[in-house]
Amino acid sequence: MAGQTWLADTFAGVMLVTAGYCLARLVISWRRHRRTDRQVDAVHVLMGVAMAGMLVPDLRVLPAGGWEVIFGAGTVWFGWQAIREYRDRVTLGRFRPHHAQHALGCAAMVYMFTAVTKAAKAASGAGMGGAARYPTLALVLAMALFGYVIWTADRLPALARVSALVARAVAAPSPAVVPAGPAVVLDAGPGVADDGLSPQRHAGPPLSPRLAACVEIAMGVTMGYALILML
């Protein structure tokens, strides 16, 4: 790592906690039928582990090239989802690009791992080295991620607390009686977007959208940090 070791350790720790939390969301969603965006949680688990390994070489779990393939596929998948959201904006009456930021995040991961591989070959040092190729692209990606961080933080107060969601679920215990208008399905916010499952599959309230947003903020800041170190 080109930066301070303690700082890299701190960011790596945050990433591991984040990945663990997203893994817990996936498990709880599966076991208790709570709504969450499983695609996003899954990619956050992968990103958290991958970022930790990038920041602290001892935490690497995949050989060179492995993460590039995974996040390359993620870029294509979330890019396609974002295109679909954009295409459907007329039908739905509004455009909320939930998946564009994840496509961007995956693309940034691909860039970073590619740059790290090249820099490591050049410097043969441990961890990320500075002076990656195409530093302007690193800056552009970092600024785009920061934009999403700020946008997510701006929306944070609008997301309901878990207690409010639980109260609402108690008031309407059967998912079948919950109004399922476009706002319910489509304006689900970070971490609680429609996962393609039928309403009957969700017995409880959604998992915390505020914490899902915090995950995105933590992920964006850490990825931006890693990108800035490559300048």
Binding site: Q4, A131, P157, L165, V192, P206
Partner: protein, 329 residues
Amino acid sequence: MTSYATQARSAGGCLSGPGVAGQEGWAAPDARRKLQLLLAGVWLLDAILQFQAFMFGKGFAQMLAGTGPGNPAVIADPISWSARIIAAHAVMTNAVFATVQLLIALGIAFRPTVRLALGLSIAWSLAVWWLGEGLGGVLSGAGSPVSGAPGAVILYALLAVLLWPPRRERPASFVAGRPAGPAVARALWLVLWGSLAYLALQPATTARGAMSGMISAMAGGEPGWLAGVDRHLAAFLATRGGAAAVVLAVVLAIVAVGVYLPRPAARAVLVLAIVTAAVIWLAEGLGGLLTGGGTDPNSGPLLALLALAYWPQAAVAPGRPEPTQPEPA
């Protein structure tokens, strides 16, 4: 005081959607809020730049100490004192600096803390303007619009003041005029851009080879394309620096008085201000962002952001409830 969100809730009923207030409970950002978010984005970039390896070394303290010479003793002595402290505790002090900037960025972006964060940003900017930028070289005679005078960080404070969400807005046709009134906002604009025009005519800019030297110095450590642009610009100005400084001063003076013109002309002048800010930013080498040693994007983007805050819009009625009021807990 009623916020937009509260109004929307009372009008539109309860939250909709799983876990999200949606359009009923979340006021889409208005013009001022968008500018605040842009400001928060710049602060976030600053914070992460402050986490770069260079900032934790002695070089950062030396850079700060270098802003003191040429200033009056009352200004320079505290700069030397703080630089010594930073040099002695480089890691701890820089970690605090970066964390404060990160908190300011997230605080501005998070609606309930926007006032607190803007207030903190004003205090922080003033302190850094003095102790970190030596008042932008204004008193030392080293300040030039091309090198970032009157100091990028003072522009953060100015933006925080102009984008402040007041309890009671004043009627103004542009965002910057709503906290303190259009007359005060226009006066601030005149002072800022007028002082830039004045600095452009000082020896630090007009002297033979001064502007060329400043720009070519920015090219060091830049990627090839940006270094090439700066080198070409420096070569062009090598023998035309004096004339270019006069042209720059005239443009800056036009921009300074532009906000007093009728709306169509004011808009044209604001476009000129944004273009000028872009050229200045290019001459600043994008603030050294791509060198691994930049602490901020320098004055170019902030001048452009400032121009956007003066963009004429429809006038608002007095007493209009402001849209970025923190939501009730």
